[in-house]
């Protein structure tokens, strides 16, 4: 929503929302953070919109209630969408059973939260069982969903055992290729690390946040910047589109660093990967003869030699391997502690049973 002033933009944003809510509730929107413009160099700074009494009971029958929170930023718009506009940057909509507060379903999008899920998504909660007869006929709105999304969902959350170990890579690659050419926007660009959604504003992130979203160490991020895989803005922030661009590369690096020794990367395949990355970023399509996808021309390297570039990638892989080793060590330590705890509990249990047995013998 646009406005001549920041306050007008916010007001133009709030009015339709309040009007829409008035169809089902008398609750009033509450706004935290005032009307001031959101600082460009601090993407974490956002305004909050919610209802003062939440969840708001809905309708005359008062069966359901709604929790609603939105984060928005007041930013400069272009031309007709300006000079000021409001951009929604996160939302949380959850329907609950009013009488029990049991959650039914939730539409959530929190790309900068602590959750690993950065794309807009839908949760079905236990309360959905209560409304199963309604759900059978309900058409729950979503964005369009790719086949890969459904396959990934089935494997990751519904116990489908994949037939091949590299399923994550395969799904990421096929979805990535598909998204390059599709005509419609999507709500779940998983292959591109779920950061960019068509029609939604792009966020600028600090380097720490960018590294976190990519799942890499900050030092690795700096190397990617040095390499040219990620370009920061003049004020040192990272536009989320840059993460989209780098996500495929990072995924491949991680995959290679996890691969068995006979397939672990060499200077040759690092250079090959670099070639693919450049094809991806400049032409929007990754060449892959195994999948008979169109081969795109490879741009000549301009600044650094292949050896230097390979060395940089090797450094990144080493970093990733170190991170994975550290995580594996932590996991192993936790497993050891859990095993010790189980052992201790078992011994206590046995001691307790022994005492009981002794007592039983004495009584007999």
């Amino acid at each position: 929503m646009a406005g001549r002033t920041t306050a007008e933009a916010v007001q133009n944003f709030l009015d339709p929302l309040q009007r829409a809510l008035s169809c089902v509730t008398h609750e009033v929107l509450s706004v935290g953070g005032g009307y001031h413009a959101s600082p460009v160099n601090n993407p974490q700074q956002r305004h909050v919109l919610t209802m003062h009494n939440s969840p708001a009971v809905l309708g005359r029958d008062r069966l359901l209630a709604l929790d609603l929170v939105q984060h928005y930023r007041v930013v400069e718009g272009e031309e007709a969408r300006g000079p000021w506009k409001v951009s929604t940057v996160a939302y949380y909509y959850t329907l609950t059973i009013a009488a029990t507060a049991q959650e039914v379903l939730g539409y959530h999008w929190h790309p900068q939260g602590r959750s690993n899920v950065m794309y807009p998504h839908l949760h079905l909660y236990e309360g959905a069982g209560t409304l199963r007869h309604n759900l059978r006929k309900a058409h729950l709105p979503t964005g369009r969903i790719a086949v890969e999304d459904i396959l990934r969902l089935a494997i990751a959350h519904f116990l489908v055992t994949p037939l091949r170990k590299d399923w994550e890579i395969i799904l990421a690659e096929t979805q990535d290729a598909f998204q390059q050419w599709r005509a419609w926007g999507g709500s779940h660009p998983h292959a591109r690390r779920n950061i960019r959604c068509r029609g939604l504003p792009m966020a600028r992130l600090t380097k720490t946040e960018a590294a976190r979203q990519l799942g890499i160490a900050r030092s690795t991020l700096y190397k990617l910047i040095d390499q040219g895989a990620i370009s920061p803005t003049p004020d040192g922030l990272i536009d989320s589109t840059e993460l989209v661009r780098a996500a495929t590369l990072v995924d491949r690096l991680k995959h290679r660093s996890q691969a068995p020794s006979h397939t672990r990367q060499t200077s040759a395949n690092i250079r090959d990967m670099d070639t693919q990355r450049r094809g991806d970023s400049h032409h929007g399509h990754v060449a892959d003869s195994d999948h008979e996808r169109p081969q795109t021309p490879v741009r000549e390297r301009q600044q650094t030699s292949g050896d230097e570039r390979s060395q940089t990638y090797a450094d990144i892989v080493v970093d990733l391997l170190r991170e994975q080793l550290r995580k594996a060590q932590e996991d192993a330590q936790q497993e050891r502690e859990a095993a010790q705890e189980r052992e201790r509990a078992y011994r206590e249990h046995m001691a307790h049973l022994t005492v009981m047995l002794d007592q039983a013998h004495q009584q007999n």
């Binding site: 309040q18 929107l29 909050v48 919610t50 003062h52 959530h108 939260g113 602590r114």
Partner: protein
């Protein structure tokens, strides 16, 4: 029962900093049984990282900018 701030002539409630924090505190108490301060500390130290998508946790976390 919390006092509801007045609705502005524009039809919504503009929360002051104190009111915004009070709202966060109220919801943290009601949904998670902890103060806003305790929630912020726990959230930032990663105590909810095992399941940050819990609806009650996520809801309160979404209100965190009210404390800024």
């Amino acid at each position: 029962m919390a006092t509801v701030p007045p609705v502005t002539t524009n039809g919504h409630i503009d929360l002051t900093q104190e009111e915004a924090y009070a709202l966060l505190d109220r919801e943290a108490q009601r949904r998670l049984g902890m103060s806003a301060h305790a929630f912020i500390t726990a959230w930032e130290s990663g105590q909810f990282d095992d399941d940050p998508d819990r609806p009650d946790v996520m809801y309160v976390a979404m209100l965190l900018p009210l404390a800024e």
